[in-house]
């Protein structure tokens, strides 16, 4: 029903819906009335372009996201602050007049494209422990590089019911099963692991939980409520898989003895409550406490030795912009095929996906997908497998990725699509 409404409204005249429409009608002779931020190969810094648009929204500017038009370009009203910002960031802008804007709009009307109004810069929060390495999270790196401000939250803020302050929450390689990425045995003695254990144990006790797995499950449930209440959740790497495992494991011991004092229930896979999970169902859990693998949700099993699968490349799906604007927003890119990259959770096996999931990208012929999206209550979640799109083999202790060397990274663009996606007018976010 919602999707039909959307199609009807857009078919009735996208131009009339646009917050920019009055300008189009007003002064047809004026030159340079608009700033087009091209997102095809004419763009000199794709990643910073998102920052320019985000800051324009912060200034109260009403923008449009031209889905599938020149790889997902943005249209801003002429504004000297945006011009200055783009010049400083090295972002390409094209100044166009009303006639050209009308012509673009006509082109959009005729093709598999759409113009989505962007109204408000979303408030962004990144879930990370206080001492997390600033360069060990692809989203943090993308936000810093694009110049998009964000707040850091962790368990105290989540459990203190403060998530409502933010529109968009990002999770990265957190282990919501409370097993320290299952590195507890293999990296025993490593100082960073000792810090992680100490910090998580102290937080669990502070919040009144008997152990870390119990506390992390409660955190996962609070995050799920944030989504149900209308929040936007974007997760990468192990946070995707472990969030769902934590949500589905109410009353089931899925944690190794080192984490909660009791061994994992050998029959845990059968006892899981998959109706509580956001994205996955019927997964088989890894029972070995020494293998840094959680379940068969991940297709690549990077730390499993002989089960590890080689990297290929994934292909973005092409959606109907006018019928599926949300999915279309999330896959805007100047490249359709993107080299894959490992993470603790690299991909999602097809057989563990719920039927309600929307697959945004997959590897053709492989039993796994890379990028998925779905709804829960009033909100949405998006899961993107892998750790760092420009560091495919990422290892603990690797040098940080310098995004000024990858300003056109299509993998990082997908992350930034997610950041800007909540800026779209609420009407457009319901399909």
């Amino acid at each position: 029903m919602k999707r039909r409404d959307f199609v009807r409204i857009t078919a009735a005249g996208a131009a009339a819906l646009s917050p920019l429409a009055p300008r189009l009608l007003r002064s047809p002779q004026r030159m340079a009335d608009w700033l087009l931020v091209p997102m095809d190969d004419a763009q000199s810094d794709h990643l910073k372009a998102y920052g320019v648009c985000y800051r324009a929204l912060q200034r109260g500017v009403k923008a449009e996201w031209l889905l599938n038009y020149r790889s997902g370009s943005f249209l801003l009203p002429m504004e000297s602050a945006a011009q200055r910002d783009a010049a400083l960031a090295g972002v390409s802008l094209e100044t166009i007049d009303d006639a050209r804007a009308s012509s673009i709009r006509g082109e959009i009307q005729d093709g598999n494209m759409d113009a989505i109004p962007l109204e408000k810069a979303p408030k962004v929060a990144v879930y990370a422990p206080p001492n997390a390495a600033p360069w060990d999270d692809a989203v943090t790196m993308a936000l810093d590089y694009a110049g998009i401000k964000y707040d850091k939250v962790w368990d105290a803020e989540v459990m203190g019911q403060q998530l409502k302050k933010w529109d968009w929450l990002h999770l990265h390689h957190e282990d919501f099963t409370g097993q320290y990425s299952k590195f507890y045995l293999s990296y025993a003695g490593a100082p960073w692991l000792a810090d992680m254990v100490q910090q998580n144990t102290a937080m669990a006790h502070t919040l009144g939980f008997p152990n870390v797995p119990a506390e992390k499950r409660a955190v996962a449930q609070t995050i799920a409520k944030f989504v149900e209440g209308g929040g936007f959740l974007f997760a990468m790497c192990a946070a995707t898989e472990t969030l769902d495992l934590a949500l589905a494991s109410e009353g089931v011991d899925i944690a190794a003895a080192y984490a909660d004092g009791t061994p994992m229930d050998p029959d845990a896979s059968r006892k899981m409550h998959w109706d509580q999970a956001l994205a996955f169902h019927d997964a088989r859990l890894e029972t070995s406490p020494t293998t840094s693998v959680y379940s068969d949700i991940d297709g690549h099993q990077v730390n499993s030795g002989d089960r590890r699968q080689p990297l290929g490349s994934f292909t973005l799906f092409n959606f109907s912009a006018k019928i599926d604007p949300v999915a279309t927003m999330l896959v805007q890119s100047h490249r359709d095929v993107i080299p894959d990259f490992y993470g603790l959770t690299t991909s999602f096996t097809r057989h563990t996906l719920k039927s309600s999931d929307t697959v945004l990208a997959d590897e053709h012929g492989a039993p796994w997908v890379k990028y998925i999206h779905g709804e829960r209550g009033q909100g949405t979640w998006t899961f993107f497998g892998g750790h760092d799109p420009e560091d495919p083999q990422h290892q603990i202790g690797d040098a940080p990725t310098d995004l000024s060397l990858h300003p056109h990274s299509p993998g990082y663009r997908l992350i930034l699509n997610n950041v800007l996606f909540p800026a779209a007018r609420k009407k457009e976010l319901k399909t």
């Binding site: 200055r84 010049a87 400083l88 960031a89 090295g90 600033p134 360069w135 810093d144 590089y145 694009a146 110049g147 045995l185 293999s186 990296y187 025993a188 003695g189 490593a190 100082p191 070995s288 020494t290 293998t291 840094s292 730390n303 030795g305 002989d306 040098a399 940080p400 990725t401 310098d402 995004l403 000024s404």
Partner: protein, 584 residues
């Protein structure tokens, strides 16, 4: 990890056999099942090879060659676990083959069956009670699954059963390193090196990664060991951790009594020093080379001394280099080729020390005995020595009639230091980009850019300031440049000179003067210089904690001079200040 080395060797040997058999008897491959299996594997037909190996094993379950072939063929098919039935059959057949036990441990390890692993290791140990192999492979199978705790327990059990306190020490050391326990790793490596000195390079490479805060305690720990192998390990680690001179002294004090062993120890220490890049490490290299020369004879000793002289020179100890070279050049026993090499090195040292007259005398004496290229290179170096000494007349007369590009480039510098700007410009342009190396060409371009906007044909005060800079007197150079810049309009060279003066002041740590000069260089009527001055100024401001001012300056640069080639650098600096990219 090295624990898998014996089995890897077996696999490599088998692969070698495979290649030999394949090349030797293609016809026979049609008849003999094993040859046929090898042939299929060699051709990459792994699925068929698997079938062939299985057919052999059906008849002979304990055929080690077939088990290893099956294991190899299943790996590229990504079906390593499929070997399990054949492994069980081989074990049921009562095999005593280490190769089959090894394959069994790898299979059970990959399958995550620790109890079976233990049973196979016990059977193997029963068959070979004095061997480390069973425990090494057992540990390796567990370590491959990141079960370092289990691997350590397996190795310690092996040590206890073998009854040797140093058994499996290298494997335990590597496990300790993987767990970040460098103290245990050091203890185990010290044990391992007593029996297997060949592990020293691996031990040093692994232990050298220890965090800086743990190093003093680790050195104290190793210094408590009296064994010669521990002394050598201590010296290698101390050298890598920044104290190569103490390392050298400790090493020499603990050299073994036999001369040949001493040479081996010193050579290996020299290999470590050559990977380092500090004045102390070069000095330690020089001392080690001299120590080697004392233990060598004839041409070899002379070569060590020549290398030692070069190392002394590189370490900034010209008097020591001269001592060694003088002895070498005057020694009648030195082979002629090495003697002339010593003389060339000695002349270079003399020039660097400023003893240009003596260098000139020695160079003339060598004319005709060394190659023309070597002679010309030293001649140019001598000219630079005269220039640095301020003896421009001598340099000028030596350059008379030299029309090579290198000669023109040097003549341009002499003209510049005399203040003859027109002459310098003309000669630099004539020399083009081909004189000297890339750094020389870049420096010439910078000099041309410096004097280009100056309309005066001659400016001796500028020549004096630049000569002072050439001679390393940066204070006089900065003062001179400031004075000359005061006489020129910004757009006619004044801004360029102030930019240079600002850079010199910053390099000297005088940030207030540097800021004043750079702000003066940032003049609207010098648009070619202003972006560079602003970039330099922003870097200075950022380095002194004024990030806000630095950002403002960079933003001004980017917005005011959008066509400048420095804009990408300015954006990167801005990213660094704002934390948009990591400081790597």
């Amino acid at each position: 990890m090295s624990a898998v080395r014996p089995i890897r060797s077996a696999l490599v040997f088998a692969a070698g056999m495979l290649a030999w058999l394949a090349s030797a008897a293609p016809l026979r491959a049609q008849q003999d099942p094993m040859n046929r299996a090898f042939d299929l594997e060699r051709r990459g037909e792994y699925a068929a090879a698997v079938d062939a190996y299985r057919a052999i094993l059906a008849a002979k379950p304990a055929d080690a060659t077939a088990i290893l072939g099956l294991e190899r063929s299943l790996i590229p098919l990504n079906r390593p676990a499929d070997i399990m039935p054949q492994i069980r059959a081989a074990l049921d057949a009562g095999t005593r083959s280490p190769a089959i036990f090894g394959a069994a441990l790898r299979a059970y390890g990959a399958a995550g069956q620790p109890d079976s692993l233990r049973k196979v290791a016990a059977r193997w140990a029963q068959a070979e009670p004095a061997e480390e192999g069973p425990y090494r492979e057992w540990g390796a199978a567990l370590a491959a699954r990141h079960d370092f705790g289990g691997a350590k327990a397996a190795l310690l059990e092996g040590r206890a059963r073998l009854g040797r306190p140093d058994a499996l020490a290298a494997e335990l050391a590597q496990l300790a390193v993987a767990s970040g326990d460098y103290s245990s790793a050091l203890h185990e490596w010290a044990l391992a090196l007593r029996r297997l000195p060949g592990y020293r390079i691996t031990a040093v490479a692994q232990l050298a990664q220890a965090p800086e805060r743990e190093r003093p305690e680790l050195l104290a720990q190793i210094d408590r060991e009296t064994d010669p192998s521990a002394r050598r390990l201590s010296a290698d680690l101390r050298a890598r951790w920044g104290d190569p001179l103490r390392a050298y002294r400790d090493l020499v004090a603990a050299l073994p009594p036999e001369r040949g062993q001493q040479v081996d120890v010193l050579r290996q220490f020299l290999d470590v020093l050559r990977t380092l890049n500090s004045a102390d490490s070069r000095q330690a290299q020089a001392m080690t080379l001299e120590a080697l020369a004392e233990r060598a004879t004839g041409p070899q000793a002379a070569r060590y001394r020549l290398d030692a002289a070069q190392a002394w020179s590189d370490a900034g100890k010209p008097e020591e280099a001269r001592r060694v070279l003088a002895a070498l050049a005057s020694d009648k026993g030195t082979p002629p080729q090495l003697a002339s090499g010593a003389s060339l090195t000695l002349i270079g040292v003399l020039i660097d020390e400023g003893k240009t007259d003596e260098a000139d005398r020695q160079l003339r004496a060598l004319q005709g005995t060394v190659s023309a290229d070597d002679y010309a290179a030293l001649r140019r170096r001598l000219l630079q020595g005269w220039i640095r000494a301020g003896n421009l007349a001598r340099a000028d007369s030596a350059l008379a009639g030299d029309s090579t590009v290198d000669g023109l480039a040097l003549a341009g510098r002499v003209a510049l230091f005399r203040g003859d700007l027109a002459g310098a410009r003309r000669r630099f342009e004539a020399a083009g980009p081909y004189a000297g190396n890339r750094d020389d060409a870049t420096e010439r371009t910078a000099l041309i850019a410096l004097i280009q906007p100056i309309t005066a044909e001659s400016l001796p005060a500028l020549g004096d300031a630049l000569l002072a800079l050439e001679r390393g007197d940066s204070a006089a150079a900065a003062q001179g440049l400031d004075q000359v810049a005061g006489t020129l309009k910004p757009g006619e060279g004044g801004a360029e000179l102030r930019l240079l003066a600002g850079r010199i002041a910053r390099a000297r740590g005088n940030t207030a003067l540097a800021e004043r000069q750079l702000r003066a260089a940032d003049a609207a009527d010098a648009p070619a210089t202003a972006p560079a001055a602003e970039l330099e100024l922003a870097r200075l401001l950022a380095a002194t904690g004024r990030s806000g001012d630095a950002s403002q300056t960079l933003e001004h640069l980017i917005l005011t001079y959008p066509q400048s080639a420095l804009v990408p650098q300015a954006r990167h600096e801005l990213d660094l200040i704002r934390g948009g990219v990591p400081r790597t």
